[in-house]
Amino acid sequence: MSAWRDVGRDLRRAPVLNMLTVTTIAFSLFAFGLFGLVAVNIRAALLKVEERVEIRAFATEGTDVAPIAAAARQVQGYPEVMSATVVTEQQALARARQELGEFSDVFEEGFLPASIDVRLKEGHRDPASVKAVATRMHGFDFVDDVRFGEEWITQLYRLRNIAFVAGVALGLSFAGVAVIIIGATIRMAIMARAREISIMRLVGATDGYIKRPFLLEGMLKGLLGGMLAIAMTYFAMKSIEHYLHFETVFFERRFVILGVLAGALLGVVGSSLSVGRHLRQAI
């Protein structure tokens, strides 16, 4: 195929320019990848933290265990609830003793209230759901107080939202920058071949015919840049893990493939834009 032959010729002819293109694509995607990695890891951390979201409804001192257990069964039936456990006064005391270790003598008298400890299902741990469940539990007669760390949950979710918005915004701007850089380097390749292109036009080549090798070239470089970016991101993660003793999560396989394809897409779009612009200017 003549288009492939052209690509081969072009790649061999300007190795520096081509390396530069691949490198800039790789770095753009690397920046993108690093950010993605941070997002993925924040998400993983959030999931772990979220698991600990818990609502505790404390019973008035001296309430019988029976109504508390009945209420717990009822709460267990709520759609948002994963588990509702009864903690009797004795259990509360034992837990406190265990947690506080040597200072346990202080609790000799046993004045800790019984409670129902509720964990919510994934997807229902947002501030609104938590608040709703807490309000309903307030409805039980024997409930003295409901605690769920409202502040803390709200903060967590705000963090998550910020991470999401920042992720999308940064991701899009990096992609934009990558397209511009790719366009610029391809434009240079085009300028270097401007004479050739005009001759092609003069012997009757259509725009599509002229564009093909450039698009192929952009795609190849994008693929290469994408793979490089993945490799760089992986090693960046590994070294963070190694030097900062920080446990991290890498992208799933399908996101890796998606990343490389995104590189190819960037390459094709960048090439297409600049070849198109060049062709519209001439003849």
Partner: protein, 226 residues
């Protein structure tokens, strides 16, 4: 075939290259364009393959009009033409052979037919032995003949040749002229700009002489016997 109707071509930076030229070239005709340097010969040819557009007036080639042609129309028209440029315009990074075969690839000639056609065209211009040389490895006359081979290879119905023998010696010039005559005899119209008046005089083809952007003589016009 080619019809220039009241065509004026003005370049922003250097004024009028052609003024109110009306010219008609029929099917299968052979026309010499002559005239001094800067008279407008190349401009007429560039208008004919629509590299340039007229400032006013209309150029119509094989049904494609300068007034309405799209980029794609122009590409399609050029596939049916053969053009020898005054400055050759060979692709620097391709061999003589590739420069010729390229013109066939562009128009979608079946791959199997290309090598034969290319070899025939190079032989016709006497360059079979230089098939694998790059343009910079060819002498001036050899480059010119590659350009001619490229123009002929796709069996065009109209051949536009701008000074195709400027770098050729007398024998080669006669050979190329003979070739163009044969092609013309086979039905291809030929428009050739030349300074070689000997060539013009040696045949009785129609001659159009330009000067300062105007047609000053046309042997096909009435009363041109003088």
């Amino acid at each position: 075939m080619i019809r220039l109707t009241h065509v004026t071509k003005t370049y922003a930076r250097s004024g009028t290259a052609l003024s109110d030229v009306t010219l008609r070239v029929g099917k299968g005709e052979f026309v010499f364009l002559t005239g001094p340097s800067g008279a407008g010969k190349s401009t007429i040819l560039k208008l004919s393959y629509l590299e340039e557009m007229p400032t006013s007036g209309e150029v119509k080639v094989s049904g494609v009009s300068s007034a309405t042609a799209s980029r794609n129309d122009v590409a399609k028209l050029r596939r049916k033409l053969g053009i020898v440029f005054q400055d050759f315009r060979l692709l620097e990074n391709r061999t003589a052979e590739q420069n010729v075969s390229f013109a066939l690839e562009v128009i979608g000639t079946p791959k199997a037919n290309i090598p034969n056609k290319v070899a025939r065209a190079l032989t016709q211009v006497g360059l079979a032995s230089k098939a694998n040389a790059l343009p910079r490895e060819l002498s001036g006359g050899e480059q010119q003949r590659v350009a001619i081979a490229r123009a002929l290879v796709n069996d065009p119905f109209l051949l536009i040749a701008d000074e195709p023998t400027g770098n050729l010696d007398e024998r080669a010039t006669r050979g190329i002229f003979q070739l163009l005559r044969e092609i013309n005899a086979a039905g291809t119209a030929v428009v050739m700009a030349t300074h070689n008046l000997e060539l013009v005089r040696s045949s009785d083809f129609r001659t159009v002489e330009l000067d300062h952007g105007k047609i000053v003589f046309d042997s096909a016009a009435e009363g041109a016997a003088s």
